[in-house]
Structures are given as structure tokens and as C-alpha cells.
């Protein structure tokens, strides 16, 4: 029988690619991708219109770097978090909740190949969204400051990409943890948008400790790099009567930030994969 209909052995790398290809096709046709693009277009459209009309000095009063700091620097992390949660937040939980896993998993393919393929597809979709936002920022920047794109902006875009890689791993881990897609998406958004920020602030201000364990602290390098000179690693502001209290503020240096994001990427990727490998398709 096998002679009649030959089958070729498919390696796991090819399986990763197949999984990525069809998941990307699914993303690319789904409403969600266009909703995300629309959000980006609305944000950058508003930014373009408001800056064009009011010409706020914070944006156009100084140099190109100031412009990119105010525009890209303030919104890039938000865009990263939204796309990570949108494309990664239910990547695995959706396979359970929507029962699509019943079609894909009972086949001669490793779960890890499915997982990595889905991750690559989500990264591709998020990268498109981030790139669209970056391009609109560049178009605006060139309009006000023709002929110069500061190298810090290029670095910042690269850092935002690294942040996206880490945030996507985290969102994937959450999507492996929960069986409900809305919950896993919501958890990713809340965590990355609020919880980590609050933790950062509380640990530095209240405890005076550098929040080196926080992904959003590491992601601070995306906007920090656009500030010249680069913000101090630690600054203490005396407050209260006679300066009796001191409020500490920390900023991740570039190597520190990259290290934090890198560790998050690896730990979360492994954690998510282990969770998915162990997860059972029960209803």
C-alpha cells in the first residue's frame, strides 16, 4: 500500500514552516489583523493631524530626535503590547476553545513544531503592524525635519522589535496556560500594560529597588535611547519637608534592557512550550 502511494518523511523544520505558513494565512485573512491595522492607523492619523495643526513644541520645537521621542517613543511600546496580545494572547488557547487543535494536533507532527510555527506567524503579523507604525512616524519626521533620521530612532525600532519578541513569548505562555481565549488575551494586555508598570513604580519608589525582574522595565530602553543624554541609571529626588524622604528612579541601560528582554524571551518560550506539551484536549 505504501508503495502504491508514496509518502515522504517530513522533518520537524519543514513542519515548523508549514505551521507558520497556514497560521499566517489565517491571521492575514482574519478580521483581527485589520482591526489591529486600523487601530494603528487611527493612532498615527490622530498624531499626524494634531501635530500638523497645533505644532506642539514638544514635537516640532526642537530637533528630529525630540520629534521621534515624543511620537514613536511614547506609543511604540503600546503598539508592541497590543499586537503581542492580539496575535499571541490566544494563539494556543484558541486551538482548545475553537477546537481547531482537534484538526491539527492528531497528525504526525510534533506539538513543538506547531507551537514554533504559530509563534513565527504571530511575529510576522506583529512585525507588519509595528513596521506600518514606524513608517508613518518616519514620513512625519521627514516632513518636519527633512533629510535626517537619527540613528537613535533606528536603534529604538530595533529595541521595539526585541521587546515584541519577548512580549510575544509571554503572551504565548499565557495562551498555553488558559483554555479560554478572551481570558488569555486580557491577561496579557493587563499584565503588560498595567501590572508590570505598577510593579516597576512601586518597587522603585517604595522599596528603592531596581525592578530588574520586570519586562516593561527592560522595555524602557525603547524610549530611553531617544533621550539625550541617556537617562541616569539611578536618580534620587529628595521630597518632603527638608528633603527627608528620597524617591529613587531607575532606568535600564541598553545592555541591561536587552538582557532582561532576552531572558524573558527564553524563559517564557520554554515555559509556554512545556505547558502546551502537557496540555490535554478535554472539553
Amino acid at each position: 500500500m505504501s508503495d502504491q502511494h508514496p509518502r515522504t518523511k517530513v522533518g520537524s523544520l519543514s513542519h515548523v514552516w508549514i505551521s507558520a505558513k497556514y497560521n499566517f494565512l489565517n491571521y492575514f485573512r482574519a478580521r483581527r489583523f485589520y482591526v489591529m491595522l486600523a487601530i494603528i492607523l487611527i493612532i498615527s492619523g490622530l498624531l499626524t493631524a494634531l501635530v500638523g495643526y497645533y505644532r506642539p513644541p514638544g514635537f516640532v520645537g526642537g530637533n528630529a530626535l525630540g520629534f521621534y521621542g515624543a511620537g514613536w517613543g511614547s506609543f511604540a511600546n503600546f503598539v508592541v503590547v497590543l499586537s503581542a496580545a492580539f496575535f499571541g494572547g490566544d494563539a494556543i488557547s484558541g486551538e482548545f476553545q475553537n477546537r481547531t487543535g482537534y484538526y491539527l494536533v492528531p497528525n504526525p507532527i510534533r506539538r513543538s513544531a506547531i507551537y514554533v510555527g504559530k509563534w513565527i506567524a504571530a511575529l510576522a503579523a506583529s512585525t507588519i503592524v509595528l513596521a506600518v507604525f514606524a513608517l508613518i512616524m518616519v514620513a512625519n519626521g521627514l516632513f518636519y525635519f527633512p533629510g535626517s533620521i537619527p540613528w537613535q530612532f533606528v536603534e529604538s525600532v530595533a529595541f521595539a522589535f526585541v521587546y515584541m519578541v519577548a512580549a510575544l513569548s509571554l503572551a504565548f505562555a499565557f495562551s498555553s496556560l488558559f483554555k479560554n481565549s478572551s481570558i488569555s488575551i486580557l491577561m496579557s494586555v493587563i499584565l503588560l500594560l498595567f501590572v508590570f508598570d505598577v510593579v516597576d513604580t512601586v518597587t522603585s519608589i517604595v522599596a528603592g529597588i531596581e525592578p530588574w525582574f520586570s519586562i516593561t522595565y527592560g522595555a524602557g530602553i525603547v524610549s530611553n535611547i531617544l533621550t539625550v543624554p541617556y537617562p541616569a541609571a539611578k536618580s534620587v529626588t529628595p521630597v518632603g519637608p527638608g528633603g527627608r524622604f528620597a524617591i529613587a528612579q531607575f532606568n535600564a541601560t541598553v545592555p541591561e534592557g536587552l538582557l532582561i528582554l532576552g531572558v524573558y524571551f527564553i524563559v517564557m518560550a520554554v515555559l509556554g512550550l512545556v505547558l502546551f506539551e502537557r496540555k490535554e484536549f478535554t472539553s
Binding site: R7, T8, Y22, N26, R29, I109, F281, S283
Partner: protein, 310 residues
């Protein structure tokens, strides 16, 4: 080597609940084996373990001799599966969904399109091949799922209630498809005993996570259906007790039980009365008998093996 499916001391607990309890079953060769049992018996649980969707609490599941929990990719290399109405990525078309499986299963490129076209034609979905699956009805999706199991010409096919959600014609088409799958091992769970009788050569019955019997349909029927024949008689009106008694007094009749409001199951001794003579005698009661259907031997065996459900 002949294709095989094997469960060794397979157990599955959900918390304290035992869904599957030391199931031992070895099926080997090219044939169709029906997997029967009441709701909650553990059929889907067994099949999910066999296909790597869940893990056994204890025991081993093997397909073609390969342990599924150790090497799912190897175990399923020549096994296609349809477990509990799967869903396809909604924005893919049937053609793309099948294409994905062809690539995963290593169907040679030059054969891919031909196989997809054939499989879609088998389930009568050719005219829908370019539409997104997301908008399909339940039965249309199930047809695509069935097409998916035919693509790579596997040696082993595991089907969990494949006719779920299909219209009557669809069900009969599934029967034809399964019957045409020669030279393969098909393991199919079903509640449709007529379907199983028609397409399978053997049956395995389980209840409460335990295997009750695994044998050929003839042997199971002979052993458990009780000697003699059985016939189901349908009446125009509701069947009352006096009528049941009158039927049971017909010579040669062993027992009469109500199967529902308007139907009686009449068991009779073949030696004492023939089926056509019984037919005349029941009609002679002038009680409004409308239909006479020979009850399936498998159904009889099933009912006597599985006393109560849940």
C-alpha cells in the same frame, strides 16, 4: 507488517473519576472494527489517548507498534484520525485545509492536487473547495473532516462517530466510504448499530471504561443475542398491556417487550415458528400492526451486554 492498534492496561482518571480502567485491546490486520458503548463509556477517551490529544494515566497506547506518548509523530505517520468534530481555521478554504494536512503528512507535491480533488469529490464538497470553512454548516465541516482522513492513504484510520451531524444521505455516503476503504485497519466508534453491522467485521464494546467483549460480529451476536430471532413490530396506535399479552401468547414467542410507545420487540424460537408465520399470526390479531422489521442481532447483543447506562 499488518497495521495494528493496541491498548495495554490503558487507564485514564479525571481527578477521582475513572474514565478508562485497564483497557487491554489489540486489533491487528486489515478490517473495520466498530467501537461501541453507551454515552460516557470511554470511547472518545480511548481514541484521544491513541492520537496524542490526551495522555493516559497508566498504560501504553501503540499504533503500528509505536508508543504514541513517546513518539506521536512516528505512531501517527500512517494513521489518520477524526476525533469529535474538529474545527478548521475558519478563514481557510477546504482546499487549503487539506493542503496543510498533505504537507504535514508528506504527500508528494505532484500528487497533492489530485488527492485533494479526489477526497473532496468523495465527500461531495468539490463545489465548495474555494469557500471559507468559517461559513459552513456543521455537516459540511464534517464532510471536509472526513475528506481529511482520506488524503494520505493511511494504513490505520481512527474515526470517532464520523456520521455526527450528517444528513441521512451523508450518513449513507460515510458508510460507502468506510466500506470502500479496503486493505486498511479502520477503528470506528458509533452509536448507529445498523451502520456498524453493515461496514464492520468486528466489534469492541466498552462500558464504564472497561472492555466487555472484542470479537467478530457473528460471534458476538451468536454468544450474546440469545438463540432464536427477534422482530420489531410497529403498530398504528399506542401499545397497551393487553395487546402485549396477546402477542406473547402466540405459539413460539419467547418474550415480548415494548421498545417504545408503538413498538414491540418480539423474540421467538426459530424452531417453533418461522418469521413469515409469525408475521401472519401477529397480523391476524387485527391490532393494527403496520410494520415488521427484523431486529439487528447486534442490537440484541448490545442490549443484553450493556444493562444500564451511566
Amino acid at each position: 507488517m499488518a497495521p495494528s492498534i493496541e491498548a495495554r492496561q490503558l487507564s485514564k482518571n479525571y481527578g477521582r473519576f475513572t474514565a478508562l480502567s485497564s483497557l487491554d485491546l489489540k486489533i491487528q490486520g486489515t478490517k473495520c472494527v466498530g467501537f461501541l458503548g453507551p454515552n460516557g463509556a470511554g470511547k472518545t477517551t480511548t481514541m484521544k489517548i491513541l492520537t496524542g490529544l490526551i495522555r493516559a494515566t497508566k498504560g501504553t497506547a501503540l499504533i503500528n507498534g509505536v508508543d504514541v506518548s513517546k513518539d506521536k509523530k512516528g505512531a501517527l505517520a500512517s494513521c489518520s484520525t477524526l476525533i469529535e468534530t474538529p474545527e478548521i481555521y475558519p478563514s481557510l478554504t477546504p482546499k487549503e485545509a487539506l493542503s496543510m494536512l498533505c504537507e504535514i503528512r508528506g504527500v508528494p507535491k505532484e500528487e497533492k492536487n489530485k488527492r485533494i480533488d479526489e477526497a473532496l469529490a468523495r465527500v461531495k464538497m468539490t463545489e465548495w473547495e474555494g469557500k471559507k470553512v468559517g461559513g459552513f454548516s456543521k455537516g459540511m465541516k464534517q464532510r471536509v473532516n472526513i475528506a481529511s482522513t482520506l488524503l494520505s492513504d493511511p494504513e490505520v484510520i481512527i474515526l470517532d462517530e464520523p456520521s455526527t451531524g450528517l444528513d441521512p444521505r451523508g450518513m449513507s455516503e460515510v458508510r460507502d466510504i468506510v466500506m470502500s476503504l479496503k486493505d486498511r485497519l479502520v477503528f470506528m466508534s458509533s452509536h448507529l448499530l445498523a451502520e456498524v453491522t453493515e461496514v464492520c467485521q468486528e466489534v469492541a464494546m466498552i462500558d464504564h471504561g472497561k472492555l466487555l467483549v472484542y470479537d467478530t460480529i457473528e460471534n458476538v451476536t451468536a454468544k450474546f443475542a440469545g438463540g432464536g430471532g427477534a422482530i420489531e413490530v410497529g403498530f398504528a396506535g399506542a401499545v397497551e398491556e393487553p395487546l402485549r399479552l396477546r402477542v406473547s401468547k402466540i405459539p413460539g414467542v419467547l418474550s415480548v417487550t415494548k421498545s417504545n410507545d408503538r413498538h414491540l420487540i418480539v423474540k421467538f424460537d426459530n424452531a417453533a415458528v418461522t418469521q413469515d408465520r409469525l408475521f401472519e399470526l401477529v397480523a391476524g390479531l387485527k391490532a393494527g400492526a403496520l410494520s415488521f422489521t427484523p431486529a439487528s442481532g447486534l442490537e440484541d447483543a448490545y442490549l443484553s451486554l450493556i444493562k444500564e447506562t451511566l
